[in-house]
């Protein structure tokens, strides 16, 4: 087991975490025993080639996927053995996720998109808080725009606002600049780190970009379903 270099309260504690896909007939091993502890408030970058298991690890840690084996505690909640729906409830308010393709709800405005996780979590003043968060990412003037009326960079800002609006303990970002040009991507990264710093959330960032990884406090590298390197930046 690799220990936290910071030694504070862990946001993530994973032991021998495994993931197999493809059913019982011909299972494919995606993650082969991940041991990981991430202290609260840390920024972590996850590097690795395609197929190394980065996105699958993020899916397990963020509760999007159920592990085939091992144990996992995230933000104080034991994820081991939780059903799909229990994981969804566990995510509410605790975990924010930003994906490469933005994945905004196309039928809702920017404000409605950001308010939705707040409502699902049963939070009060969902729309006021959503508006505040959108203003914080510089989209206070775009509240009533639909995703199709926004640029790629603006859509990703909405996604960041949506992820951070419930004030989560953990923020996961999977290639957040992968669908953006380099200039817009840099602005988004700046925004992501700034908002993360303001919220104090633990950041778990998947990227191909070593330079971006170096902006994090800690860099993990994966290959063939295992963490092969774990260092402080």
């Amino acid at each position: 087991m690799q220990s936290s270099p910071h030694g504070s309260v862990p946001a993530i504690t994973a032991n021998d975490l495994r993931l197999e896909l493809g059913g019982t007939s011909a299972p494919v091993s995606i993650l082969r025993g991940i041991d990981l502890v991430v202290p609260g408030g840390q920024t972590v970058a996850l590097l690795g080639p395609s197929g190394s298991g980065k996105s699958s690890l993020m899916a397990l840690l963020s509760g999007l996927e159920r592990a085939s084996g091992g144990s996992l505690v995230v933000a104080g909640e034991d994820f081991s053995g939780l059903s799909e729906d229990a994981l969804a409830r566990a995510r509410r308010g605790r975990i924010g996720i930003v994906l490469q393709a933005f994945h905004l709800l196309p039928t809702m405005t920017a404000l409605e998109n950001v308010a939705t996780p707040l409502e699902l979590a049963g939070r009060d003043r969902a729309f006021e808080r959503a508006a505040e968060e959108l203003a914080a990412v510089g989209l206070g003037h775009r509240l009533d725009h639909y995703p199709a009326q926004l640029s790629g960079g603006e859509q990703q800002r909405v996604a960041i606002a949506r992820a951070l609006a419930p004030d989560p303990q953990l923020l996961f970002a999977d290639e957040p600049t992968g669908n953006l040009d380099s200039e817009t991507g840099a602005q988004i990264v700046d925004l992501l780190f700034a908002r993360r710093a303001a919220s104090g959330a633990t950041l778990f960032l998947i990227t191909h970009d070593p330079a971006l990884a170096e902006r994090c406090e800690r860099v993990l590298e994966m290959a063939d379903g295992r963490i092969v390197s774990d260092r402080l930046a």
């Binding site: 999007l64 996927e65 729906d85 393709a101 994945h103 709800l105 996780p117 699902l120």
Partner: protein, 843 residues
């Protein structure tokens, strides 16, 4: 855990926020429910309108609580005493007559005499607003149509029989008009005394005497009728009660009701298939949204609630529009069917019928949407990150209980709200059978596609066949929907062409030009002479004409009494009420003896009778059996000497029973005559002459009768087609929806193949080949199912001959099949015509 109420509240907020008010993805559901619930609302409202009007106005429509009728005579003293003991009685006569005017114009009329107590219920109103009873002696209340046709006005005089009658007013509202039934002319009302002056009424003339009775409060009309029938079983009486006030078209009305009920159910079944397909495709297109919602913390239950609420909202909109359209359609349907229905066309709202249609629509929507809705719960948040290879299996187990319970509720509601339980159950079972059959065909197609070699054949053939068995391929759903759609096409074509053939066959193209009723026997020769003078070369035929009712039949020592029968045997319509009778020395023209022998021309022995072979077959009669009839209240018995095949379609004089000379000719009676003019000759002068010189006879222009018969049958045909077209529209919507949905799912393959270098021609070829093969197979199956449905509707329900024009049926079904291929091609055009790079971005 969040409380359920809060969960529903959040789900409702998200559902409404996310809902496309242009019904994107749910349009097919809206259309299907619009058609299904619209058909049910219209049918239910019409049915309810008939019941309500009969219940509320049955007495006025019938003109009493009971009506007793008898032909050719008045009630005997005993009969009259029995009728009078029931309550207040109003009597009168109905007969076919000709009216003529001083200007030479003539018009057929339904002459109706009424007494001083008419009307017992409701009020007779003239066009000028006066409420009146029987017209004063020597005058008549006349329908405006008669006056217009004859170019006479109020105050003028018309001639009826031998009497000159003054037109004293125009009939505005005749309360019992709907119950008078089929007539060959507009009504003319006179008093009994005026009718007597016309000389039209003689013993044995073709006039019906009616006695309407207003019962004391609380008296049971049916019990009174039963008691009367028991007392006078041989009198040839017909009777009706206020709850069955419609004319003799009861059977047809009932059949129409059954047919409309089945149309509603069929539209629902088809709507259900469309809904299942529509919701499935819609949810498939929303996998990304569902996964995103789950990423944001939504549970499977939240996802189910959100989409259930959205389906509910779309269903409510479809059902609401359907109910409105159904309500608006009722006056049109009632207008089309006014010859058959005892109601007046008008705007009617029946909350129960609307509620039933709405509940049916909602149940069908929820039951058929349930499987895909329940399956939508299985979409995981990971769907955003990982492509799906195949849909998860075993979902049907989760859907089995709610869907099974919903289906049971639909069947229970259908059976609980119909009087035709057996028919409804048969239809529902048949529909389930057809669904099962089509699903099996779908599975067979898929398995066949799986077994065909994938490495041989051209790209078009290979990819075309492979697509039928690729993971997640909607082959079974597609086959079911297309099969139902094509079956609807075949059914409507076979129904329509059979009806057309029936109308063509029933309404003859060659028929006599005039029928003359009640021609006195001693005036037969002057009549022939007159016709030959005015219309040289005309063919004149006369036959003795009497009316009587069959009382008993069968072996002489074991007679079956009609009054003992609970139901009239199928095909034995001649047992209902009185029928035309005749006697003849020679076999009538166009008749062929099929069993026994025709009597010698100079036969003078015991009474014999020759019977229509169809009636004999329906009653199991043989040569040597006996038939007892009531003739003007007197029983007579004759031995069956022969059976005859009758050519009914030539519209000549045809009689089910023809007696031997001496059997019935001692009863008072007149002759009936037919006149066929030489080709091209106009009969106007002859008509005017006959009306003038044979005033007590009724001359009927057959051209008018044929036109009226054709109009009525055409209205029926249009009404049937209008109702059935609802199912075809639903079928069409389902068919197009299924193709569009299947193509949407195949878009990914198409785009990737384009990227890999497949040409548009190759892809279009693969697509056309696949859908052409499917359409061919399903066209044949749909033809079988549709023809079977058509046969059931035409032969079993309406009891018309099933004679579809197979060329038309094949063409229409083939057209439907071609539409499938065309729709599939059109749905693919945007992807096929876009540049590969652009198409790739659209994925």
């Amino acid at each position: 855990m969040q409380p359920a109420r809060q969960g529903w509240r959040v789900a409702l907020r998200l559902a409404l926020r996310d809902f496309s008010w242009r019904f994107r993805g749910l349009r097919l559901l809206v259309v299907c429910l619009f058609l299904g619930s619209g058909a049910l609302a219209a049918i239910g409202t019409l049915d309810s309108a008939i019941r309500t009007q009969l219940a509320d106005r049955g007495q006025a429509i019938l003109g009493g609580d009971i009506e007793f009728g008898v032909y050719g005579r008045a009630a005997s003293r005993e009969e009259m005493a029995a009728i009078a003991s029931l309550g207040r009685v109003s009597s009168g006569m109905r007969m076919q007559a000709m009216a003529s005017a001083a200007n030479g114009s003539v018009s057929p009329v339904q002459l109706k005499s009424v007494d001083g107590r008419y009307p017992l219920y409701g009020s007779l109103t003239l066009a000028d607003g006066r409420k009146v009873g029987a017209p004063p002696p020597g005058s008549a209340w006349v329908d405006r149509g008669v006056l217009d046709r004859m170019d006479v006005a109020v105050g003028d005089t018309i001639r009826l029989g031998e009497a000159q009658v003054r037109v004293a007013g125009i009939i505005g509202n005749e309360p019992d008009r709907l119950s008078e039934g089929f007539a060959l002319g507009a009504p003319v009302l006179v008093s009994d005394a005026t009718l007597a002056r016309t000389g039209l009424v003689q013993v044995g003339s073709m006039a019906q005497t009616k006695y309407r009775v207003a019962l004391p409060p609380g008296a049971d009309p049916s019990a009174a009728v039963e008691a009367f029938d028991r007392q006078f079983p041989t009198g040839g009486w017909t009777s009706r009660t206020r709850d069955r006030a419609s004319p003799g078209a009861d059977r047809l009305t009932g059949n129409m009701g059954q047919f409309l009920g089945l149309v509603g159910l069929a539209a629902l079944v088809i709507a259900g298939i469309g809904i299942a397909g529509a919701v499935s495709s819609w949810l498939e297109s929303r996998r990304g949204t569902i996964a995103t919602l789950k990423v944001l913390g939504a549970t499977s239950k939240d996802v189910l609630r959100i989409h259930l609420l959205q389906v509910f909202v779309a269903a409510l909109v479809g059902i609401g529009a359907g109910l409105a359209a159904g309500l608006l359609a009722v006056p049109g349907l009632a207008l089309l069917l006014k010859g058959f229905l005892p109601i007046e066309a008008g705007f009617v709202i029946d909350p129960v019928a609307l509620l039933r249609a709405a509940v049916f629509g909602l149940l069908v929507a929820l039951v058929f949407a349930a499987p895909p809705l329940l399956a939508s719960r299985s979409v995981t948040a990971m769907a955003l990150l990982r492509a799906r290879i195949a849909p998860p299996r075993g979902l049907w187990r989760k859907a089995a209980l709610p869907v099974g319970a919903g289906l049971a509720a639909i069947v229970a509601l259908a059976l609980a709200t119909t009087e035709e339980r057996l028919l409804t159950a048969t239809f529902l079972a048949s529909a389930a059978g057809v669904l099962g059959l089509l699903a099996l065909v779908g599975i067979a197609v898929r398995r066949l596609a799986a077994r065909l070699p994938r490495t041989r054949g051209g790209l078009a053939l290979r990819t075309g066949v492979a697509a039928l068995d690729r993971p997640g391929a909607p082959t079974v759903a597609l086959v079911t929907a297309l099969g139902f759609g094509l079956a609807a096409f075949a059914a409507i074509a076979s129904i329509q062409t059979s009806l057309d053939a029936y109308i063509e066959g029933t309404v003859p193209t060659r028929a006599p030009d005039y029928f003359v009723l009640d021609l006195p026997r001693d005036r037969a020769e002057p009549f022939r002479t007159a016709v030959q003078e005015k219309a040289p070369g005309a063919d004149v035929r006369t036959v003795p004409s009497l009316r009587g009712a069959i009382l008993a039949y069968g072996p002489r020592d074991n007679l079956t009494w009609v009054s003992d029968l609970k139901d009239i045997p199928e095909g034995a319509w001649a047992l209902r009420g009185e029928r035309g009778l005749t006697y003849a020395a020679d076999l009538p023209d166009g008749n062929v003896v099929t069993q026994g022998r025709w009597w010698p021309a100079d036969y003078k022995g015991p009474p014999l009778v020759s019977v229509d072979e169809d009636l004999a077959s329906a009653l199991g009669l043989r040569v040597g059996d006996a038939i007892t009839i009531a003739l003007l209240g007197v029983e007579r018995q004759a031995t069956i000497a022969s059976l005859r095949r009758i050519e009914w379609d030539d519209m000549g004089f045809n009689f089910v029973l023809v007696f031997s000379p001496g059997a019935i000719d001692d009863a008072p009676h007149n002759l009936s005559a037919s006149v066929s003019l030489p080709p091209g000759q106009q009969g106007g002068a002859l008509l005017r002459y006959l009306v003038q010189w044979f005033p007590t006879s009724s001359v009927i222009e057959i051209g008018g009768v044929l036109r009226q018969a054709r109009e009525i049958l055409s209205s029926l045909s249009v009404a049937i087609l209008a109702a059935a077209s609802v199912t075809v529209l639903a079928g069409l919507a389902v068919l197009l929806g299924a193709v569009a949905a299947a193509r949407a799912r195949e878009t990914y393959d198409t785009v990737i193949l384009r990227v890999l270098g497949a040409s548009r021609g190759q892809l279009l070829g693969a697509l056309v080949l696949r859908y052409a093969l499917l359409a061919l197979l399903l066209g044949l199956i749909g033809l079988g199912i549709g023809a079977g449905t058509g046969w059931f509707v035409i032969d079993r329900l309406f009891e018309f001959p099933f004679r579809p024009d197979w060329l038309v049926v094949l063409t229409v079904t083939g057209g439907g099949a071609a539409l499938i291929v065309l729709a599939a091609s059109l749905a693919s055009l945007p992807v096929l015509s876009a540049r590969p790079a652009r198409a790739l971005r659209s994925l």
